[in-house]
């Protein structure tokens, strides 16, 4: 390619320049590759570590005498540091479900409707203010949200809910919901903005009102993205730790009442891992919980992806 071409200017060695260029491209490609793989390697190491520490639950006889799968699911109590330790997951499971449910019931409608408002009703000016504000909420460290839930929210909510305790699943769910709203909002807003203007025009031209258009045309057309936003919010809710640790009261009780204190999987790990004896059955149990949590959020994320793909294909008419 270079052999026959005329030099750009006298003394310009096109061939040498090209050799140099190729070398540089290769170096850059290797650096980028290294970055990409180190991220994957980090993920693999974390997964490996968590599963390795959880392994005694499934494969070590001594550990199994104290903490085992059958016990996790049949034992009704979580009392890992009592005279005879009890490792029943049921109360943690109940706590997780309650807190996550409250947070989703709170955050999903608000996040979705706020996104609908921002894309379908707000003036461009208002949208420019609203969006960064909600996204700023995502930037608030969860420890701050937890603190807010612990000190402020709890004092506001208790007089309204008449809950027997200040810190309970409902309180934690609302605080957690505040952390999830931006996730739901951002993903939904993106999805709604990607809905072609032509759908809205068609709807309005048929005599649909703006609200009918938003609800019956824009939202369904964005359903794949909205679903993904909800599932990502769910994954975050299940894994979020600091907020629930601070705002839920942390009592591991099996109860269906959202106004009772609650303890989630994630908060349990955070609260107990610091004081546990490394290598003990309790330690392995906490890692087992962590592994479960990881698998759960992993499957939620996979489901989100599959869900989005399927809806997208359906909307495209396949």
């Amino acid at each position: 390619m270079t052999t026959g071409s005329r030099p750009l200017r006298p003394g310009h060695d096109a061939a040498a320049f090209r050799r140099h260029q190729i070398l540089r491209e290769n170096v850059i490609a290797w650096i980028l590759r290294g970055c990409a793989f180190s991220a994957v390697a980090g993920l693999l190491l974390i997964v490996l570590f968590v599963f390795k520490e959880a392994w005694p639950i499934l494969g070590d006889r001594v550990t199994q005498q104290e903490a085992n799968l059958a016990g996790f699911f049949s034992q009704p109590l979580w009392q890992p540091v009592s005279e005879t330790p009890k490792y029943g997951f049921t109360p943690l499971f109940a706590g997780t479900i309650k807190v996550v449910l409250v947070s989703m019931l709170f955050a999903v409608p608000i996040g979705v409707l706020a996104a609908l408002f921002a894309t379908e009703f707000a003036s461009p000016r208002l949208r420019e203010i609203l969006k960064p504000c909600i996204e700023l909420l995502a930037g608030i460290p969860s420890v701050v949200l937890g603190f807010f839930g612990l000190m402020v929210l709890a004092s506001w909510l208790q007089p309204i809910t008449h809950a027997p305790v200040r810190l309970n699943a409902f309180n934690a769910g609302i605080a957690l919901g505040l952390g999830i709203i931006p996730t739901v909002f951002t993903v939904c807003e993106d999805a709604l903005r990607a809905v072609p203007k032509s759908f809205r025009e068609a709807s309005l031209a048929l005599g649909a009102t703006p609200w009918q258009t938003a609800w019956n045309v824009a939202l369904p057309a964005a359903s794949a993205g909205v679903g993904a936003g909800v599932l990502l919010g769910l994954a975050r809710a299940v894994g979020e730790t600091m907020i629930v640790l601070m705002a839920s009261g942390n009592a591991a009780i099996t109860s269906g009442d959202v106004f009772d204190s609650a303890r989630t999987f994630s908060a349990t790990i955070a609260a107990e891992l610091a004081e546990v004896v490394v290598g003990s059955p309790h330690y392995a149990t906490l890692f087992f919980l962590g592994a479960l949590l990881f698998l759960l959020t992993f499957f939620i994320n996979v489901a989100a992806g599959a869900f989005v793909d399927r809806l997208r294909r359906k909307l495209a008419g396949a």
Partner: protein
């Protein structure tokens, strides 16, 4: 019909009309452009600005009912803008200012008290690119009816079938009404969009280059359909295709740079236009 008497009855169902009502109920046969068919859609001294840019300049036009009116002119001359003014779709664009008078039948389109939702139901619109909703064929056609609060499945089915028949699409889709509209061909999608508009019983159908995204066969079908539909609707078609205007319209309006240059019987327009500009345009000297 009320008989003209010196003293009008106290209660009249009919809205006041400029011309006395015709002796029979509406003529079903298309009338010639010279015929007595009353004005259905009109603009008077219409100015429209996009920000500082004036897209329509003192446009006045009277479009007779139950006829096809074509709007032709080079790209950017304001055809779509004029069309979209008739159902106030320009309201959706920020910084639009519009002055003058627009009427459909007895409604003052631009009046603050006019219900835009109701106006748009009466003045339907078909867009340049087929834009069916990502829903089933049935739900596309039923959409406008559902938005009007119609829930009865039986009635919906009857009306959907009727609309699809009127849009000459029924035979092609009757076995797959629950399939996604996105899987139809472009021409079918456009006829579906027409059916969707017809379902809410508009009086006027505005079509913005309805065939420009379609192949010749699909275009021919849309043209046939337009000719069929004028018995029941007043149709305004924007097109940049002069042969198409000649084939389907009773009257043609020629626009240039926001102005209505000439508006006349289509045959006369294409054989002996009054304006030099019109002649230059239709003989292909510019545009």
């Amino acid at each position: 019909m009320t008989v003209q008497t010196p003293e009008r009855p106290a209660v009249t169902q009919e809205p006041p009309r400029a011309t006395p009502p015709p002796p029979t109920v509406r003529a079903q046969q298309p009338e010639t452009a010279e015929g007595a068919s009353p004005t259905h859609l009109s603009a008077r001294g219409l100015d429209l600005f996009y920000g500082a840019h004036q897209a329509l300049k003192k446009v006045s036009i009277e479009i007779p009912s139950h006829s096809v009116t074509a709007i032709i002119g080079p790209s950017g001359c304001g055809k779509s803008t004029l069309l979209r003014s008739f159902n106030r779709m320009n309201d959706l664009i920020p910084n639009v200012r519009i002055m003058g008078e627009l009427r459909v039948s007895d409604i003052d389109i631009l009046a603050a008290t006019t219900d835009v939702v109701e106006l748009r139901r009466r003045v339907g619109m078909v867009f340049q690119r087929p834009n069916p909703f990502p829903k089933s064929i049935f739900e596309n056609v039923a959409f406008g009816l559902r938005m009007l609060g119609l829930k009865d499945r039986n009635e919906l089915e009857i009306r959907v079938e009727d609309s699809l028949r009127r849009a000459a699409l029924w035979d092609e889709v009757k076995d797959r009404l629950d399939r996604s509209a996105m899987a139809l061909s472009g021409g079918q999608q456009q006829r579906l969009c027409i059916a969707r508009s017809l379902a809410v019983e508009p009086e006027v159908l505005l079509m913005d280059e309805p065939a420009s995204a379609l192949d010749p066969t699909a275009t021919a079908r849309i043209e046939e359909l337009v000719l069929d539909l004028k018995a029941r609707y007043t149709i305004v078609v924007v097109t940049h295709n002069m042969q198409q205007a000649a084939r389907i319209s009773d009257r043609t309006a020629f626009m240039l740079q926001g102005e209505l240059i000439e508006f006349d019987d289509t045959r006369r327009m294409f054989t002996s236009p009054h304006q030099k500009l019109t002649e230059d345009y239709i003989t292909g000297r510019f545009g």
